[in-house]
């Protein structure tokens, strides 16, 4: 009885400490956090496929909605990578980038890096030009930096990746 109570108390205490550290905003984030801790968190594969299809058709708002539905707790590195990529492609501009979208993309790719095993994420997808989370992060950061190279006329012919 005492041993079971002690174990239950320890688990409850650890869960409280985790919640204060992670600051979950929704019930889905709480349950997702706990299930991913014990390795049983699964994304909604159908919603993920829908999101990917929207992404490839450049329907970024729709893609984000579907990807957010696929990973409501924000615990899947690959889904967070694609969410970041939607922000990148939507915010990318030949003359200037949308800083607000790039900042959201940076937050999403940071989550992806944090969640990936050993913080390394490589995505084998022919439809995208950036295949690692580190490159995407650097690209987003470059987009948010304002310096003399912004006035380089060659920027107008750079490709969107």
């Amino acid at each position: 009885m005492r041993a079971a109570g002690l174990a239950g108390t320890m688990l409850y205490g650890a869960a409280i400490v985790w919640m204060y550290a992670a600051q979950p905003q929704t019930v889905a984030e709480v349950t997702g956090g706990f299930t991913s801790t014990i390795g049983v968190y699964r994304i909604d594969q159908q919603a993920f496929d829908d999101g990917l299809a929207f992404f490839r058709r450049d329907q970024f708002d729709e893609a984000r909605a579907a990807l957010a539905r696929a990973d409501p707790a924000g615990r899947d590195a690959l889904t967070q990578f694609y969410i970041a990529y939607t922000y990148y492609r939507q915010g990318w501009g030949r003359v200037y980038n949308d800083d607000a979208l790039f900042k959201s993309g940076l937050a999403a790719v940071d989550r992806a890096i944090l969640l990936a095993p050993d913080h390394r994420l490589v995505v084998d997808d022919a439809a995208i030009g950036i295949h690692t989370a580190d490159e995407l992060r650097a690209e987003l950061q470059r987009g948010l930096t304002h310096d003399a190279s912004d006035f380089n006329p060659l920027r107008l012919i750079r490709p969107r990746r």
């Binding site: 005492r2 109570g5 239950g8 108390t9 409850y12 204060y20 979950p24």
Partner: protein, 230 residues
């Protein structure tokens, strides 16, 4: 005290208080960890609770208990400390001059209690009044004064107060739902304290009775061998 109460009920109650005490349900959900002053106040409160026989550490940690029992008792004491810290975190405004004023008020009140209150029932009553008053001040008076849809008079009053204190008297309302959660949290905390094991001794007839005054603890130690069946 039954093992069920010591190992399940009380830790669960106090850990729930520790969880809910920092919960702020406003525009977004926040879990606010206790500031340092809340830990200091919690330590003082725990001292007062021990002194007034609301919490009896000897019933939770002693040589007569096994290692597992002592661990369980130690965890319960830690849970009481965490819950106490979160209760102060709940009742103290998060920032500004009001945070300082309420913290100092709690500190003085607890020091007074620590030196003056020796009786379990009086301590519980005193604590209920103290926490109840602080709850009314924060979640009824301040929330009403600083609520977003307040009237002209309230806006003038708060503007005057902020003007007099050169802007230091600032308060960010936490939303009415936080008040309900706070009420539940305080109720659980007080129920948990009432359920805590107290010092017991045997009267002349062999019946276990509660000792109200710490002066009688000597009598307990005289009766301990009898209680242990020696």
């Amino acid at each position: 005290m039954t093992p069920l109460r010591e190992a399940f009920v009380l830790p669960c109650l106090f850990l729930t208080v520790a969880l809910l005490g920092g919960l702020r349900l406003g525009a977004d959900v926040r879990l606010v960890p206790p500031p340092l002053i809340a830990l200091v106040l919690a330590a003082l409160l725990l001292g007062s609770l021990v002194r007034s026989n609301v919490v009896a550490p000897v019933r939770l940690l002693s040589q007569q208990r096994s290692g597992l029992e002592n661990t369980s008792g130690g965890v319960l004491l830690l849970a009481v400390l965490a819950a106490s810290a979160q209760v102060f975190n709940l009742l103290t405004p998060d920032t500004g001059l009001l945070h300082l004023l309420v913290s100092v008020f709690f500190l003085v009140q607890l020091l007074t209690t620590l030196t003056a209150v020796r009786d379990r029932v009086s301590m519980l009553r005193s604590l209920a009044v103290l926490l109840g008053c602080a709850f009314v001040l924060r979640f009824i008076a301040l929330e009403s004064l600083y609520s977003p849809g307040r009237g002209v008079m309230k806006r003038v009053m708060t503007a005057l107060m902020e003007g007099i204190t050169l802007g230091a008297l600032d308060y960010v309302p936490t939303g009415s739902t936080t008040g309900y959660v706070g009420f539940l949290c305080l109720s659980l905390y007080l129920v948990g304290l009432v359920l805590m094991p107290t010092m017991l001794t045997a009267d002349r007839g062999g019946t276990l009775v509660s000792l109200g005054q710490p002066a009688q603890t000597d009598e307990l130690y005289r009766h301990l061998p009898a209680l242990r069946g020696e």
